[in-house]
Symmetry: C2
Amino acid sequence: MTLWVRFRSQDGRVCCGALEAAGVREYSGDWFHHPLATDVVVPLAKATLLAPCVPTKIVALWNNFHALAAKLGKAAPTHPLYLIKPASCTAGPGEPITRPVGYAGKIAYEGELGIVIGRRCQAVTAAQASACIGGYTCVNDVTAADVLHENGDFAQWCRAKGFDTFGCLGPVIASDFDYVHGRVITRLDGAERQNYPLADMIFSPAELVSRISHDMTLLPGDVIACGTSLGIGSIRDGATVEVAIEGIGSLTNKLAPEPAAQLPRAQRAAVA
Amino acid sequence: MTLWVRFRSQDGRVCCGALEAAGVREYSGDWFHHPLATDVVVPLAKATLLAPCVPTKIVALWNNFHALAAKLGKAAPTHPLYLIKPASCTAGPGEPITRPVGYAGKIAYEGELGIVIGRRCQAVTAAQASACIGGYTCVNDVTAADVLHENGDFAQWCRAKGFDTFGCLGPVIASDFDYVHGRVITRLDGAERQNYPLADMIFSPAELVSRISHDMTLLPGDVIACGTSLGIGSIRDGATVEVAIEGIGSLTNKLAPEPAAQLPRAQRAAVA
């Protein structure tokens, strides 16, 4: 079991590392491609954690939990339903979520499990898919809710969920994680708002990777956000959202109160 | 006026180049970042043209032409309506379009103008946007039409348009192009199916770049596919689609008759 991170060192380098008791051990190479442990261990206080991977795309599921489908009165889909969040929306642990310029509407959190692809895959079976999963991370699939159905002719999924900083990822990639016994807990300013079992997923991680890899080639670092369940809601300006999954860690991001505000980094994400 | 290309040389290198009468002049560096002309000119027959840019995302417009909006009975939108095609769907000139494994339904062509971003931009005005446009290319925004509304609860825009090879780009990036007098002509096995004026666009290229750059950071190589107009239709297996824009060139792709078929490269795209 490795907890992979990306971090910026005090001399400004972006590094690959793994969490240890004493801090972050630096690795040479990429976490998904022959990483080599170095002798350097950086204390956590001197490492700025970044989004743990650099996706070329984030595939974000809609309607992938039985409980939410039942609440919305929707049938379970027969194929994963998804949209694409662009790589440019990625934010790391502790980075502020920025309110889009000129948008005064509702901004929603959605706590989710993220599958991080570890190996290029195309049209793999569910049995092959497990070997293509490099690990798991926490996702806050942030949404400008009032944009979504602003136009009656076209649901703006990609726009509502694609704004810069709306794809919060981290704090780590946990190489081993037993999703069947896992739960996603989302806290808003410390108050629990979501607490749902991952066993309630309609398509399991291996099924998702298999089915989506038949649609499009998945590359190392790509993220599949598994969809959310009950309890999503709105983030007030200045509020902090924490997405916690035991065995992975806790991803914390604050909604910056003003567009383009240069906030100090929010409290460093705690890790499992 | 430069016609930028990416090409694979006979020794297997992927190079940046510009078209000249004698062939392709090789450049060092990227076309968008201080390209330097070398002394090497490769005859066209010895250069395999690739997609002219490497996008991190393709932003694909819906309902951006007055004539198509009128035909569909839709109001002109007040903000660009778009989905995201992943970078993994990119195909170059002459590359086969591959039918998704297990999908026997309709595959549609959509001939479009593509804006290629030449400079990182975030929240730029329309006046600033022109300087962020590196050039223009032809796009075939290929769509698995039967996937789109297969699920009654969720329009699958990203899936229907995101399959590998469904984002055909090329053959060049034309650094200067006067869209106001341009037309997009799409031919299916040589028969003209689309011939529409770009002046009919609802949001102009500079408006698109400005508005979309307020939603998400645009990066060099990113493509905004400006949407299509009248005349879209279905591609039979084995048929060839040509998207031609005078001043840019002609992008030709054949729909491979079988999944995963290894076809010889279709005829090299002619250039303006």
